[in-house]
């Protein structure tokens, strides 16, 4: 069934006029800040990433992956960790200025004792504006629902805020810079005891250059 859906999507995409679809992919430089539980557990890191984008009429699909080397930044943490950050968005451009989006976010550190592995579904909206000469700016806000953590617990309040700037130098080359801020108010019940706050925040910047087809 899933294969059939993919085939149908590919067939529709192939049959559509060239101007109706656009695909791009390119490398990115990612830098991030991660904090958990208290100001003393803070990490910063950088790493390579990749960005892919596909649009078909008013629907677009965007995905990003980053491999981050996180290091302690002040506080009590003594060792860093490697993390893989995966993000995906499915957007529908409702008007010239407003899009609705849904997607996934997932972070997987190699050392789950150093940081939480977590994932969530995002749903939200994005407002985009043309600045001229192929440049656009967008601000987005999402609710992160269904968050689950490797250390257990839940996050009834989990939100994400983003700022994106794109500049298409030509029909094939686009530079982009984006920022995402995630707040997850995680609570746990250690040992079946009372509810304990274990919040986490992540701030991520990304600079990339994508080639369009």
């Amino acid at each position: 069934m899933r294969h059939a859906s993919v085939l149908v999507l590919l067939a529709v995409s192939w049959a559509a006029p060239a101007g109706a679809q656009h695909a791009s992919i390119g490398p990115a430089f990612v830098f991030a800040d991660y904090r958990e539980v208290s100001p003393d557990l803070r990490y910063e890191g950088v790493g390579p990433g990749v960005i892919a984008h596909f649009s078909f009429h008013s629907v677009s699909l965007e995905g990003g992956a980053a491999w981050l080397a996180m290091s302690p930044h002040g506080g009590l943490a003594t060792s860093g960790f490697q993390a893989v950050q995966l993000d995906g968005w499915l957007r529908w451009k409702a008007t010239d200025y407003l899009s609705l989006e849904a997607g996934l976010t997932h972070q997987a550190p190699d050392d789950e004792f150093a940081a939480q592995s977590f994932g969530a579904v995002r749903i939200g909206a994005l407002t985009q504006h043309a600045l001229g000469h192929g440049a656009t700016i967008a601000l987005r806000g999402d609710y992160l629902g269904g968050a689950h953590f490797s250390g257990g617990g839940e996050a009834p309040l989990a939100i994400e805020l983003g700022l994106m700037v794109n500049w298409a130098f030509s029909s094939h080359v686009t530079a982009l810079v984006d920022y995402a801020f995630q707040r997850l108010d995680r609570t746990t019940h250690p040992g079946g005891g009372p509810e304990t706050d274990a919040p986490l925040e992540q701030s991520r910047g990304r600079m990339g250059l994508v080639i369009g087809f």
Binding site: A32, E36, S38, H133, A135, L139, L161, V165, F181, S203
Partner: protein, 347 residues
């Protein structure tokens, strides 16, 4: 000896006979000139006698006409009105288009001439205009005057066709239009056609005719339009005026992100991280500033595009009409009708 003399006299008489002076053409013309001289010298009786004498000889039509006119003038001058009218009638019958110059001829003579005109049946001053028209959409005018009440019939005749153009009963000036069409509706054949006006009254019939050349030509077609007169296409791209909007938007959204990040920051985790936000906000502001300073990007002028589309539709419609009209015109014939030099009159 006597017989020799008699034979000689007889021979002289035989030989003299043909050589005896007889009034020839030159003599007759001299007589006509003498009649004119007598008239000019106000010797009207002598002018009438000389003119009458000239008319007993063989004269050309023009000289005959002139002699009768001189006779009419002379009789008018000596108050022989009936004779004057008779003379003018002959003048008119010989030359139906004959006219008196009102500036040179006395009103008395002119009135007698018109009196004569009313007593004869002729078709005068038959004129056919030159015309050029699309077959079925025009006609050539035939003008003539009938001097007495008569039944009038106008015909167009060529080698093997005779077409009735018009008919009437009356007198006076007429203008008849000939569409140069066959009864089937098609154009008449190219070539020479004779337009004949018959006037019949009792036993008298007078006919006048005018030959015309009919030739075919192609009807001019209309050129296709590349633009509508008075209407010009408008530019479909326009440059918006330079403004601070890009920088303002960048500032607004970057501020929104910053304010949001600070507002959403969980205080229990310390102050919010600034490095990532600063990089993205700086990129947004720099981009906004560049876009503000650059010449604004062209954008489609929707109103102009709609106007041009409307203009193209109008142009296409007009050209389609022209194409239809040209297709119709290519099946038509342009007739050119030119009268030949002179009509003839017969009685």
């Amino acid at each position: 000896m006597r017989s020799v003399l008699g034979r000689s006299l007889l021979l002289m008489l035989v030989c003299w006979g043909p050589l005896a002076p007889r009034p020839g053409a030159a003599q007759t013309r001299t007589m006509l000139r003498q009649a004119q001289d007598a008239y000019d010298a106000l010797d009207f009786s002598r002018a009438a006698v000389l003119a009458r004498r000239a008319l007993t000889e063989r004269l050309s039509a023009a000289d005959q006409t002139r002699a009768y006119e001189l006779l009419g003038f002379s009789y008018s001058a000596i108050d022989s009105q009936i004779k004057a009218v008779d003379a003018f009638k002959q003048t008119i019958l010989l030359d139906p288009d004959h006219q008196l110059d009102a500036n040179k001829v006395s009103p008395k003579i002119t009135s007698l001439f018109y009196s004569a005109l009313g007593q004869v049946l002729v078709v005068r001053q038959l004129r056919v205009d030159s015309a050029k028209f699309v077959s079925g959409q025009g006609a050539v005018a035939i003008r003539f005057t009938v001097t007495s009440p008569a039944r009038i019939r106008v015909r167009a005749v060529n080698a093997n066709t005779s077409l009735a153009v018009d008919s009437a009963v009356g007198t006076g000036q007429y203008t008849v239009r000939w569409p140069a069409q066959l009864p089937s509706g098609g154009p008449v054949g190219a070539g020479t056609w004779l337009l004949i006006v018959d006037a019949t009254a009792a036993q008298t019939t007078f006919s006048a005719s005018q030959a015309v050349n009919v030739s075919y030509g192609a009807v001019d077609t209309l050129p296709h339009l590349t633009s509508l007169p008075g209407y010009q296409e408008l530019p479909e791209i326009e440059y918006p005026p330079q403004s601070w909007r890009p920088l303002g938007l960048s500032f607004l959204l970057a501020s929104g992100a910053a304010v949001g990040a600070y507002a959403l920051n969980n205080g229990s985790l310390g102050s919010p991280p600034t490095r990532e936000l600063a990089v993205a906000a700086s990129a947004a502001l720099i981009t906004g500033l560049i876009m503000t300073l650059r010449k604004p990007a062209p954008r489609p002028a929707e109103a102009n595009i709609r106007y041009n589309r409307l203009l193209h539709e109008q142009l296409s419609g007009r050209n389609a009409e022209i194409a239809t009209e040209n297709a119709r015109r290519r099946q038509q014939v342009m007739l050119a009708i030119v009268p030949q030099r002179r009509e003839t009159a017969t009685r």
